[in-house]
Amino acid sequence: MRMWFVCRFCCPAAQSNSNPEWEAKVLEYFKGQLREKESHSWVPSLNDVPLHYLKPNSLVKFRCLVQDMFDPEFYMGVYETVDPSTKANVLRCGKYKDVTECGVDLNSRNTVTAERQTFYCVPIPGESPWAKEISFLSAARVVPSTSYVPSRQKRSYEEDDDDMDTQPQKQREPHTGGKFGTVNEPHGNGDSKRQETEAPSSQTTAPSDCSSHLDLNFPLPGERGPACLVKVYEGLDSFKLNDTLEIYGILSVNPVLTVLGEEKDPSLLLLNPTESMETPEEQRAHDPPASLVPRLHMLYARPLQHNNPLLPSAPTEDQSAFVSSFLVEMASVRAELLAYLTHVLLGDGLAAEYLLLHLISNVYTRRDVLPLGKFTLNLSGCPLNSYTERLYQIVQQLVPCSYRLSMSLHTMNSMRLVPKKDYVANRLVSGALQLARNTSLFLDETQLEQGQLDSSGVRNITALGNLISWQKVDYDFSYHQMEFPCNINVLVTSEGRSLLPSDCQVPLQPQVTPPNMEEYLTTIHMAQFTSQINKFRVYLSLARTLDYSISDEVTKAVEDDFVDMRKDDPQSVTAEDLHRMLVVARLLSLSLGQTTLSRDGWMRAKHIDMLRRSRTEQQKSLNGNEP
């Protein structure tokens, strides 16, 4: 089926240009096909299959985040070629292709110029290993490795003459290569190998080492996976920076792309400075070798609400059936998860409750500048010595996307959190806060020691503060800043009260003090079956997507309650407290699978908030002079 697909695609342009409608029809056809249920399972994914196993010009999919948007470019939508032997003019289509056929007649009046835009896409940053693994396993069975062998041989032949770029792939075993990305792999013995090939090859670029030259601009350090230049033809305005998409498109790894970039005739430069205009950095960023950063010509893109492979991804009937079936067991899963988290949080049930609420929180709307639904949790009083690290590992096991930022003085001073525009290379240099929606950001403040923050450290802290309070990141465009709204769940673990703002602070009160923390946590973790963990994963992703409303009756009750509380002691309850309690009530209801707020739910929310507050008061009186 796939082969047919490919053939069908390769030649639509030539015969059908008599019909101007064909483009729309082709798109319709593909979209129709892709909407079918299994379609996504038989299209190979760039995330899972290494590039050299994929056939050029075939249909692939890519689960990614839009990291940067390049300038729009004009291309030859339709062009005419002259066959040198027969002198016959043939009209050809340039859509979905990077290079033209030979013998283009540049002066032809039939040429049609069209517009497209390039997005630089990276795999979703911080995607948890389990999410990758599951989607890999579900896709892997449809990859018949044998059919890829010829193309692999062909590739390696090319690799020989266009040298080092594809080196890392050679040494990798097909199986591990399948799971992990292609490039930033440490070279190991590859280095010596490269030197061999490098000497004879007539590379004109500076012989700088591979890794610096090919900065793939991932938001998080240590990320791997293919980055991709996605050519977008339609609906340019509907895409936004940091959108997570599943893109279906035609893979293009034409080696000519690389060669075109490399070959520079110096004599041309004087007469035609257009080409010298691009700095080498810009060239590198915008035209990296296709073998490393493949081009993907987008046919169809689906915005992803979540990247949890255990859940049906599209909002179809399928999903609603799934949701309603899961709603039944929601309460029981919640209880199990709560018990699990209680264990993890050393027997502190209240903290576990809040952690659970935090994990399903979501900015569901914004009222002018105010993001609604965010629920930043500050777990204070965390035991030192790698407890937080373990805690993160457990969170990571539960959510599809997460990142732990250890707030040590060194990282705060040296790390780039906010993306910055590099005008020399003309690209947006990513930072750790360029994250997909609903990513769990785990800020480990226990790592912070005394010392001085330098100016970049202050900027980083400010950026984190802005992220927590307004759910926005101000990207640095050097002449001005630009605000990008985001939706990131921030969990701060600290010893005392955090220096960052938070919506809700819960001092941890351990009920048990295990002699060996690591062992304790590992045992808890091991005790869970994978099926159980999977249930938790589905539960957390699902609870977040549910709708929610408050009836007039309950509204009235809440109002009355608020007025009553204020009557007793106006200082005790402020508007801010009401804000928080409304969020807690919302999350509490959703966590139980209830889509409307009941009086009960409100009382419960009030109750746990009271508990929490009494705990912080207690803390305050203990500490004495805290403000």
Binding site: F74, V104, E115, E483, V583, R586
Partner: protein, 860 residues
Amino acid sequence: MSSPTSTPVGSKRSRDDIPVTPSSDGLASPPSQRRRGQDSSNGDLPAMPTSPATDIASPAVHDTSLFSSPRRSGNFLPSEVDMSSPLMYGTPSSRVEGTPRSGVRGTPVRQRPDLGSARKAPQVDLHTELPSADGAVASEQAAGQKLVIWGTDVNVGTCKEKFQRFLQRFIDPTSNEDENAGLDLNEPLYMQKLEEISVIGEPVLNVNCSHVQSFDADLYRQLISYPQEVIPTFDMAVNELFFERFPDSILEHQIQVRPYNALKTRNMRSLNPEDIDQMITISGMVIRTSQLIPEMQEAFFQCQVCAFSTRVEVDRGRIAEPAVCRNCNTTHSLALIHNRSAFSDKQMIKVQESPDDMPAGQTPHTTIVYAHNDLVDKVQPGDRINITGIYRAVPMRENPRQSTVKSVYKTHIDVIHFRKTDEKRLHGLDEDSDQKLFTEERVQTLKELAAKPDVYERLSSALAPSIYEQEDIKKGILLQLFGGTRKDFSQTGRGNFRAEVNILLCGDPGTSKSQLLQYVFNLVPRGQYTSGKGSSAVGLTAYVMKDPETKQLVLQTGALVLSDNGICCIDEFDKMSDSTRSVLHEVMEQQTLSIAKAGIICQLNARTSVLAAANPVESQWNPKKTTIENIQLPHTLLSRFDLIFLMLDPQDEAYDRRLAHHLVALYYQSEEQIEEEFLDMAVLKDYIAYARTYINPRLNEEASQALIEAYVDMRKIGSGRGMVSAYPRQLESLIRLAEAHAKVRFSDKVETVDVEEAKRLHREALKQSATDPRTGFVDISILTTGMSATARKRKEEVAQALKKMIQSRGKTPAMKYQQLFDDLRGQSEAAITKDMFEEALRALADEDYLTVTGKTVRLL
């Protein structure tokens, strides 16, 4: 050369280096209509004063391209022309033959690489059946024949004449551009400019396209669609006209016409393939400029055998090297002589979309712009500019060694005219430089809104709807957004009067002050948001930096300068260090910033409104203390705020209920309701922008009277109790607020209603912030001197009591501090705090009555 076909426009277009785009086809498709239009216009035309055709009609000069004359400087004789080469056709018009007037003859032509010198433009006759090019040119004058430039519908003669008519007749009495300052608006505008050229000697004529459009829409359309052909025609027309008028003037080169303000495109994002080869105007910010690039215009070749030399012009970026020497017939004997070739200056400039016209959530686009000749180095990175130029797309060069090419074009803009949008800001000439364009419908909706009687309330409630009530604060901020009318008294030596309203919000933490600030920051186009804790004095003002590349000192502006004409929101105002705060003194009254750093001394404009938020020192507002005591800000700074609001928790049941309702509603309102709010924000933005740009209210007689009364009343209140309750600063505030309120109503007159509202709001703010907690009276001296009159009186009393007590003790040269304090407390019936005691001691020390050393008090 020219096509012998009878329907040349659509079918055989030699848009040589650029493939035909669908749009240009679309433009050319109805030639019949356009021809008709031209016919009629031509019929009305008076006889042309000069005909370029007759001048170059001589077949000896092989010039079919009429306007090659003003733009080429071919120096060689016709005999040198190799007629067989396709490159050479129509090129060698000697300027002597090509120009009719002596003045023109004496002035060298300057090439216009911005228009693409490689362009050949043969003309085509639309009517006659066999138009050989020469014949066509010769018979151009014949009635009924229409010569047009190949691929366009431009007739050179008509076009030239129309433009000359435009220059001679165009009058724009309503012009308010600063470029036209000093010109008589009732005389033909461009003739005055020509006169200016003859005096100043700068041979550049800037032409506003909107003028052309209002004068002759068809000419405008041609200019936009075929700039490459039409602008040289304009050049020619201008030069003829100019040297006719001023035959004796000497110019460096012939006058070049530089059109600007083409209405075609405003936004970089909206550029599309249809704009290729058209004239466009876009706005943006310069982010990078390249080094100067010498671009070869004409190559000089010399035969190695016989030393015969020839020149070859650049065609589409390439030089066709002559294969055979025409003198000695040796093949491949010609060598390029670099230093005798002609070069022109060129610079690449990268321009980025200005942040204001970008959709949310996307990254800004950039465009490459080429500047030529004297436009090189006209702009610097960071400048905001409007660029008028021709949009180009060049296919990626075909590599001879490659069979396939990349199917992508490189696009750039050849710039014709730069206009800095922030230039005016620096000179401080005009109100708002980047005039936002409003569609008529939009203006209509805005005016309808303004006509509603409750527009003021409506707008103020549309402001930050998520923040509950605080109506007066919102109203104050609304007036701040509109601002007063700018008045210039610099001729009488008082300089500018501040038109900006400054507001300080203080109050308990958690009363959504920051949220209000964030909202305002998001609402206004030139807003800045800083936090007092995080900003230093230099971050607010300006700092000098060494550019790592050029080693030049560069002045980097801070938040206050950046928010010129906008609003600077400063959160945590109280946490600001004293040195930082001191910078604000100048900004908040004089509206300028003086800098003397690293050899740079300058004064920058910072006409910004300040919206600040401060928390009380004791984290909770102490109602028993005055504003100054609560926020510990110097009164000199406080008095510069027009309005100081307290945001306190009111703590009453009805309020609580409404607040709860509001908050709960916030959490369950449906999407559509939220949509509505967003619409309001856009309307509000436009409303403010419109009012700020177009409405400049002035006080009418009654309003002035009302203001005077209000001021006198305010002074009276205090004088009864021996206090001053108003200073001239308060009067100025009142005027500003009244003007702003008139702006809200879109009214050009400040009327009594405006004064009433200004008074009310001002009183409200005073009531909140300047009430003396001890007496309950409004006392402006709290804000102006930092202490209420009663407090001052009280201080004196304590000091006197202390003095009396010490005197009553008789001769004791030294006393214990603590004991004295206890004694005083015991003696006085009112409670005396340690602070008061210390203040009293200090007062006595000032009188040289005693000194305090450590724990002992000594009499002097």
